[in-house]
Symmetry: C2
C-alpha cells in the first residue's frame, strides 16, 4: 500500500484516488474499478450551501444508518450500490454513473414544497408526491418536469419511469422501517446511478440528512419533534443529540430483526 | 347610463362594476352576467412586478393584436372568450372562471427557462416544450408539475390534459400567423377559463406582452431583433416603436386575408 494513500484501511477496496469531494462525503476509487469507497464527513450544509457547519458524529450516524437501510432495501428486492461498511464512516459501494436527478418523495407537506406553493406544513399527501430536481448546485437544484428531463437529456424516458416507480416502492419500504423506529417519514431524496451493465441502482445515502423524520412518540403534526437535518437548517434543537437518537433507534430495530448481511 | 360609470361606452355591454384590476388590464362586469369588458392599459411590469413602467400605446396594440388573434383562432376551431372590440383599448369577452394556471409553450430557449436550467438562449426546442405555472403573484408564479396541480386542485387531470393539448394546437396556429408577420414565435403564455357550462375557453390576451417574437427579417438566433416585452424587461430598444411595429405587421396580414368577423 503506498504511503500517500489518503486513509489506509485494512480491507480490500482501500481508498486510492479521490474522485470527488462533495458536501457530505468523499468518494474514492479503489483497486477494483467496479468498487468505490465513500467516506462520510461531519460537515453540514443547507440551503444550497448558504448555511455551513458541522455536526459531531454525523458521518458515523449517516454511514451506519445508510448501511442498515441499504441492507434492508436489498432484502426487499431493491437493487442498490451497498457492498459493505468497513469502518464507522466508510462505505464500500458499487461504482455507478449518477443520474443528475434528485428524486424526492413526499408523504406530508414540509420544507421547500410549502415555501414554493404556499402550503401549510404537515398536511398529509396521499397518494405520495413524486418530484424530480436537476442535481446541479450552480443552478440551485431546480425542479424539473419530465419534459425538462428529456430536453436536458438528464435521463431517458424509460429511466425516469423506472426511478420514479422505484422511488415510490422504496417509499413504502422506508415508511415501514422508520415506523418501526417510531419515526414518521415525511419526505426524502434519493439518487440513482447506472452500473457498468447499464442497470439502474439506488445509490448515495439514506440518512437524517436526506429524510425528514418526525418523532411518532412526541410532538404532533402542527408542532412535530423533528429528528433530521431540519434541526440544523432551522436551529430547532441539538443536531448532535438528534442524529445519535436516530442511530440508536435504528440499531435497536436491526438488533431485534437480525438478518444474514448484518455482519 | 349612470354618470358614475367608469368609462361610458356607447355599446351593449358597457362597463358596470370593476371586478379586478390586474397589471395590464381592468375587468368589468356588464349588464349581461355572461359578458365582461377588458380595458387594456399602457402599464408595463416585469419580473413579477419588480420592474414597473409604462409603454405608450401598449393598451391599444395589445387589445387590437389580441382581438385579431382570437378571431383567427376561432376560425381555426379554437374555442375562446373573444366577442368584440368595441374601442381601441376595450375587448368584450365571455365571462369565465380563470384556471389559476399559466400555460407556456416554448419553441426556442429563452427567458426564465435559460436562467433556471442553465441553457443557452436561442436553441430550437423540438417537439415544443409545454410548461404549467401556478398563477399566483404572491408566490412568484412557480413552475408546477401535473402532480402539484392535482395536489393543489388547480385543475382536474382532464382539464390539464385538455388545456395542454389545446396549447400545443394553438402553438401551431400562432406560429403560422406570426410567420406571416415575418416574426418567429419563440414562446408564449396562455390562460384558460371555464364558462357557465363548464366548457374550457382560451381567455386573457395574446400580444407582445405574452409572446416572445423575434424578427425573421433582421438579426439571427444568437443576436435576435426582439419585438416583444423583452424590449422593456431588458432595455433592448424602444418598446413603443417595437409594439407599434408588431401592430402594423398584424394589420397588414389581416388586411391581406379579410375574414367575416373582422367587422
Ligand atoms: N455508488 C456511487 N458511485 C458513484 N458516485 C456516487 C455513488 N453514490 C453516491 N455518489 C455520488 O457521490 C457524491 C457524494 O457526496 P456528497 O457529499 O453527498 O455530494 P453532493 O455535495 O454532490 O451532494 C454525490 O455526488 C453522489 O451523487
Ligand atoms: N374572459 C375572462 N373572464 C374572466 N377573467 C378574465 C378573462 N380573461 C382574462 N381574465 C383575467 O383578467 C385579468 C386580466 O388582467 P391582467 O392585468 O392581465 O391581470 P394579471 O395582473 O393577473 O396578469 C387576469 O387575472 C385574467 O386571468
Ligand atoms: Mg449529497
Ligand atoms: Mg395578465
Amino acid at each position: 500500500m503506498p504511503s500517500s494513500s489518503p486513509s489506509p484501511s485494512p480491507f480490500p477496496g482501500a481508498p486510492q484516488e479521490l474522485l470527488y469531494e462533495g458536501k457530505a462525503k468523499r468518494v474514492y476509487r479503489t483497486a477494483d474499478p467496479q468498487v468505490y469507497l465513500c467516506q462520510y464527513k461531519d460537515d453540514a450544509t443547507a440551503f444550497n450551501a448558504e448555511k455551513r457547519g458541522s455536526i459531531a458524529g454525523k458521518g458515523e450516524v449517516n454511514c451506519t444508518v445508510s448501511s442498515h437501510l441499504f441492507r434492508y432495501l436489498a432484502q426487499q428486492g431493491i437493487p442498490n450500490h451497498f457492498l459493505a461498511q468497513p469502518s464507522p464512516t466508510e462505505m464500500q459501494v458499487k461504482a455507478v454513473t449518477i443520474l443528475p436527478l434528485e428524486v424526492v418523495v413526499r408523504n406530508r407537506t414540509a420544507g421547500s414544497l410549502c415555501k414554493r406553493l404556499g402550503l401549510e406544513r404537515g398536511l398529509p399527501i396521499d397518494p405520495p408526491l413524486l418530484e424530480f430536481y436537476y442535481k446541479n448546485d450552480a443552478l440551485g437544484d431546480p425542479l424539473v418536469t419530465q419534459d425538462h428531463i428529456r430536453l436536458l437529456k438528464l435521463a431517458t424516458p424509460s429511466q425516469v419511469e423506472q426511478v420514479g416507480s422505484l422511488a415510490l416502492t422504496i417509499n413504502g419500504h422506508l415508511q415501514t422501517f422508520w415506523r418501526a423506529c417510531q419515526l414518521e417519514l415525511v419526505d426524502f431524496k434519493l439518487e440513482f446511478g447506472c452500473d457498468a451493465e447499464g442497470e439502474i441502482l439506488l445509490a448515495d445515502e439514506i440518512s437524517p440528512d436526506t429524510c425528514r423524520l418526525w418523532d411518532l412518540a412526541a410532538g404532533d403534526d402542527s408542532a412535530p419533534r423533528v429528528l433530521d437535518k431540519d434541526l440544523f437548517r432551522f436551529d430547532l434543537g441539538d443536531p448532535v443529540a438528534g442524529y445519535q437518537e436516530v442511530l440508536q433507534r435504528v440499531l435497536q430495530v436491526v438488533e431485534q430483526q437480525p438478518h444474514p448481511n448484518s455482519a
